[in-house]
């Protein structure tokens, strides 16, 4: 192996409270090599990425180990050494492009700023290089693109612009921190393809940080699997995918390639919800156009679409939240008023909502007992011993220890919080639970457990689920029927197996084909299929 361009030895990064975020990590990155860093939240992957720039985020400090970039030591080292390396030799691409650009400056100026700051190029050189990058990254209207402001371009374009900005000094190393996680699947493909092309074209080495094994498989040569700040397994991408050695890696690989249904056969009850010609307006703009659907007891209907497709609006309309909606909704043979204020207490009880982010769905100042006890008290008038028993039963039902009742949400993990949210919905003994992206904010293995919990509860309580998600893998496993939405309209609906069975057509096909698969040649296959030679 040639001399590594990045050499990290025994890296220890400590949080302000003294906890070690990474513990003795070694990284070697050869010139032009792409190394994937994989792990769930808290694994320390972003921390390692930032350490490559000699930086600790949010009060974290690098307390041990060495970092060398191109044989030049920056940790331990002087501030000047680090400043000369940052942006020039090692550049960082963040998850949120919208937060990385100054909204008041034109994109073009921001894209050459680093090069001018480091004095790496004169202004005309920097502009010429920027325009080349704009063309390589296939940004639209290369002549006028630099004159635009960040809010004038789409999310995917902004992400590409940020990659171009990071390339401004022709760095040796790119640190890519979840660069496609915030993007829709169809946009993710574009960015992945262009990013891979760029790295190969200029021979840039990269640290690719993500929680999605299938994505990293497409782009990296080697993969490091991390957990709780330590290395679990390291190997070539091929080896990790095909013959993982460690149990944790095997579970990660298995989870991502699981397609078997969680619930095999089910008897459906009578129809419980019907929505006919629903329209929702937000001020002047229309978010939903004539959406109709039906749902039976014990059935799961998945609503699928990318951001802006109106799937969350649909969920909120059924819950009665938007200020103005037209159309008719019926619930258990009775008319369902469009506004939740006009619904009876019993109607409110029978439709429950579970949200994407358990952090903001739970009041940080209420204990679990208060959170779960209130619906029991409010709807069923439980008091004293009956209330305590009810709370204990709910906790047991969602697989949590009974002594969690006295805890505050702050002391629970993300998955545990989401279980509490599910328990709170169950407390009302509902007929319909609207699940709005309930697993999207969770780590894959935790999300899998929550999915299994939901499937079990559905059988036990004969619940109807309206499952809003952008994750087609989840849909396939849990939904009886699927409804695909695009720009506020329903483009396809039918039994899930039918929708997922090739030949796929139209927008649905594009969506399904865009979901990364757990094999190395997936991206090439997609490209080959897309551009018939």
């Amino acid at each position: 192996m040639t001399d590594p361009i990045l050499r990290i030895r025994d890296l220890v990064v400590s949080a302000p409270d003294g906890r070690r975020l990474t513990d003795g990590i070694n990284v070697d990155l050869a010139p032009g090599e792409v190394l994937g860093l994989i792990g769930e939240s808290g694994a320390g992957k972003s921390t390692i990425g930032l350490a490559a720039l000699g930086y600790g985020r949010g009060g974290c400090t690098i307390t041990g180990g060495t970092v060398q970039v191109a044989s030049r030591q920056i940790i331990p080292g002087s501030r000047q050494d680090r400043e000369q390396v940052r942006g020039a030799r090692v550049a960082y691409v963040a998850q949120s492009a919208a937060a990385a650009f100054n909204p008041a400056q034109r994109l073009g100026d921001q894209m050459i700023e680093t090069a001018l700051y480091h004095g790496a190029m004169t202004r005309p050189e920097a502009i010429a290089w920027r325009d080349e990058l704009i063309r390589v990254l296939q940004l639209p209207n290369p002549e006028t693109f630099p004159d635009r402001y960040p809010h004038q371009v789409s999310g995917g374009q902004l992400q590409r612009a940020m990659i171009a900005m990071a390339m401004a000094c022709r760095p040796d190393i790119l640190v890519l921190d979840e660069p496609t996680t915030a993007l829709d699947v169809t946009t993710q493909i574009e960015v992945l393809v262009l990013l891979r092309g760029l790295i190969r074209r200029y021979g840039t080495a990269a640290l690719y940080i993500t929680h999605d094994l299938a994505v990293v498989a497409q782009i990296s040569d080697r993969i490091m699997v991390l957990r709780h700040g330590t290395l679990v397994e390291e190997g070539t991408a091929q080896a990790i995918l095909e013959s993982p050695q460690q149990d944790y890696t095997r579970r990660l690989v298995a989870e991502r390639s699981a397609h078997d249904r969680l619930v095999k056969t089910r008897e459906l009850g009578p129809q419980i919800l019907s929505v006919d010609q629903l329209q929702v307006h937000y001020g002047q703009s229309q978010a939903l156009f004539d959406v109709s659907l039906t749902l039976c007891r014990g059935e799961t209907l998945a609503i699928v679409g990318e951001s802006g497709s109106g799937k969350s609006t649909l969920a909120r309309a059924i819950a009665g939240l938007p200020p103005q909606s037209q159309g008719t909704m019926r619930f258990d043979c009775a008319a369902l008023p469009a506004n939740y204020r006009a619904r009876s207490r019993d109607m409110l009880r029978r439709i429950q909502l579970v949200y994407q982010l358990p952090d903001v769905a739970l009041n940080p100042r209420q204990t679990v007992a208060e959170v779960l006890g209130r619906p029991l008290q409010f709807y069923f008038g439980l008091k004293g011993k009956a209330l305590t028993e009810g709370i204990a039963a709910l906790l047991t039902d969602v697989g949590l220890p009974v002594d969690f009742a006295s805890r505050l949400p702050g002391s629970l993990s993300g998955g545990q919080k989401q279980r509490i949210c599910v328990a709170r919905a169950l407390a009302a003994k509902p007929d319909l639970i609207i699940c709005d992206e309930v697993t999207s904010a969770l780590d894959p293995l935790v999300a899998e457990e929550v999915l299994q919990l939901l499937a079990r509860l559905q059988q036990e309580h004969h619940l109807a689920y309206l499952f809003i998600t952008h994750d087609l893998g989840v849909v396939r496993r849990i939904a009886d029927r699927t409804l695909v939405m695009q720009k506020g309209k329903v483009v396809e609906q039918g039994p899930t197996e039918q929708i997922f069975t090739p030949p796929w057509t139209g927008y649905t096909g594009e969506l399904i084909a865009s979901v990364p698969e757990m094999r190395r040649d997936w991206l090439d296959d997609v490209l080959a299929r897309r551009t018939p030679v």
Partner: protein, 271 residues
């Protein structure tokens, strides 16, 4: 809440001393506030630690009497302004619509006139009795409390746990008491400390202009004004009440800083 720092302890100690003055000031005072027992601007002597004021009254006694008056007026004004401002602000936030619009525009209208001018007009028109003074300051101040509590409540009300409570069918009182108040209590308590300081200085300012507490009752702002000519002769007389005002302001701010620092500590993103 974080453990009190050294400066926070200092502030708490200062506040404790002032609370003692508020409760027991007149009983601690060796002389009455109207008793003329020495020469004007007389020097300190045994039994008269701080000397005498412009009329020959014992300075220490007047400071103790004035403390009760000044702190009492400010404290009741702030308490009233919070008990008016917070409920209205919270209601405006969760009701929205015309209720919010009318209240907010009304508050904007009051706020565009400087507080001192409004207060001067009202006090001139109604005469400066103690209840009028307290109510005027309280109501003018409640506009700011209204604004703050409205914006804090709007922030919490937009979160999903508040939405869950609304969708459950909870009434406004539950929303305010259980979902909103516990989550905004910190900033409101800090604001209480700050507003108390401002009000205190404001009362002192009004007294200085002759519209606050009326003679012969002592209060610190008025005492600074009454003794001001002593400065010309290089005497300390006006500095004692001025220092009393300054030290309380510093003490309250030390405590508020500590409370706010606790709120602003990094919460730790995705760790």
């Amino acid at each position: 809440m974080r453990k009190p720092t050294f400066t926070a302890w200092l502030g708490l100690a200062i506040i404790a001393v002032y609370l003692l003055v508020l409760i027991a000031g007149p009983w601690l005072a060796p002389f009455g506030q109207e008793e003329i027992i020495g020469s004007p601007f007389g020097d300190p002597e045994p039994g008269h630690l701080f000397g005498f004021d412009q009329n020959g009254r014992d300075m220490l006694s007047r400071l103790l009497f004035g403390g009760q008056m000044s702190i009492g007026v400010s404290l009741s004004a702030v308490l009233i302004s919070f008990s008016v401002g917070i409920p209205l602000g919270f209601l405006a936030a969760i009701r929205g619509g015309w209720f919010d619009t009318i209240l907010s525009r009304f508050v904007d209208t009051i706020m565009c006139v400087p507080v001192l001018i409004s207060a001067l007009v009202v006090l001139q028109a109604l005469g400066s009795s103690l209840p009028v003074l307290i109510l005027t300051i309280a109501l003018l101040d409640s506009t700011r409390v209204f604004r703050l509590s409205r914006v804090l409540a709007q922030g919490v009300n937009a979160l999903e746990f508040a939405e869950v409570a609304r969708l459950r069918g909870e009434g406004g009182f539950w929303l305010i008491r259980k979902e909103i108040l516990p989550n905004v209590a910190g900033p409101l308590v800090a604001e209480f400390g700050l507003r108390f300081c401002f009000t205190f200085l404001f009362v002192a300012g009004l007294s200085f202009l002759g519209l606050g507490v009326q003679p012969p009752f002592a209060d610190w702002g008025g005492m600074v004004k009454d003794n001001q000519q002593a400065i010309v002769y290089g005497l300390y007389a006006p500095l004692y009440p001025a220092a009393a005002i300054a030290i309380l302001t510093v003490g309250v701010n030390l405590v508020v800083d500590w409370m706010l620092a606790g709120r602003a500590a990094p919460q730790g993103d995705n760790r």
